[in-house]
Amino acid sequence: MFDHIECFYRPTTLREALLLLRKVGNRGRIVAGATDIVTQVDRSTRFLVDITHFGLNYIRRHGKGWVIGSTTTMAALEHSAVIRALAGGILAKAASTCGSIQNRNMATVGGNLANASPAADTAAVLLALDAQLVVANSRRRRNIALAECYSGPRRTVLNGELLEEVVIPALPGGGRLGWSFQKLGRTATDISLVNVAAGLQADARGRIKWARIALGAVGPAPLRARNAEDLLLGKTLNEELLAQVSAAVMQEVSPISDSRASAEYRREMSAVLARRALRECAAQAGCKL
């Protein structure tokens, strides 16, 4: 199946990897966990560059934020005490739903993002956390917001660049934060039909002062429902507002029909999951509905 592969490179430094990627150009693919590369056979690929041998596997605090090396596996995210304590554990929860244990031992967070599947479970969470990506080629290194990284289904603006790490900035200061990750799939570890990550912060009077609602599998790429977020700001959460916000979510998604679910079902479920997510966030933030 992969007899068209001419060479499998195992660079031992980032510099070597970047020079190799420049040399092989668009005939090369980056390998970390390999799960997506093997299941999406691309006969134009001639060279594989394994990026797991120069220390991109780490999770650490960075100031008030966090950095995650791109080859960190889903299993590592799921079990990391640091990630379980971050934002109510929604990133750990999302990672724990990315396929079976076997897949989670292989699949990496960098791959989940760079493969740009609209259904990527960690992508919705990382959008809600305002994540930035550090990407590099042999000439330069740059930061790009995850929200600006996608250009279409399975397409990114990364042009032959290597994703080095994911940066999660400091969470909003002060208390009364709530978080939720909701996933609808046929089984607990199946691909998402819809996924939603949400975060809320309430002020002392219970008014929402910060909100994030991100969704996956309901558009060409994981997306933020910014109109729905704006509806929440400055208001106290109640059933009426929840209904308005979930209606706004339905307006902002653009799902397709496929063998797993119809567009109409995905749209309905976007609202249902967003409402569930906001209820969970509100409870954690101490907001009474």
Binding site: F2, H4, I5, V31, D50, I101, Q102
Partner: protein, 177 residues
């Protein structure tokens, strides 16, 4: 066709194999005679091809062989100690958890990885650990019971060594019975 050298340990034995750069681990292991590694869906869904790489279960159909350079691979052939079956294998027999047997190597390896990390699992933890191993004959009740029973044996006497005697090519599971 380009070729490359792969050095790794399989069931405790050092190996050096000539592989093609695009070879999948599943294909290389079967080519080298480890027929306990089953070819199933080839898309990482069914878990029949499960092996442990550095102690962790992975789908060998989704991994390039070249990724396992320097790694320790455990296949079902390396689970028994000589003629003595591992408590997990004994339990699968005793509980009737094997019907056609195609999913069994993967299930036992997934269970082995679980018990190495979690010697006293709950039923839910066993089901979670086996969630990536599909069975199309018996269902999951008997394998789950078998793993829980094996966990009790492990806690009493410990697992049999994962390493077979050196220089002995273990026969496939079927031949041993």
């Amino acid at each position: 066709m380009n070729s490359m050298q792969l050095r790794l340990k399989v069931n405790g034995e050092s190996k050096q194999w000539t592989i093609a750069p695009g070879d999948l681990l599943l294909d290389v292991l079967r080519r080298e005679g480890y027929f306990g590694v089953k070819r199933g869906c080839e898309t990482g869904e069914c878990g029949a091809c499960t092996v442990l790489v550095n102690g962790k279960p992975i789908n060998s159909c989704l991994m390039f062989a070249a990724q396992t350079e320097g790694c320790e691979v455990l296949t079902i052939e390396g689970v028994a100690q000589g003629e003595k079956l591992d408590p997990l294998q004994e339990a699968f027999l005793e509980y009737g958890a094997v019907q056609c047997g195609y999913c069994t190597p993967g299930m036992i390896l997934s269970a082995k990885a679980l018990l190495a990390e979690c010697p006293d699992p709950t039923e839910a933890e066993v089901r979670e650990a086996l969630a990536g191993n599909f069975c199309r004959c018996t269902g999951y009740l008997k394998p789950v019971e078998a793993v829980l029973a094996a966990a009790r044996v492990y806690r009493q006497v410990g697992p049999s060594s994962a390493r077979p005697r050196a220089k002995r090519r273990s026969a496939p599971l079927g031949k041993k019975r």
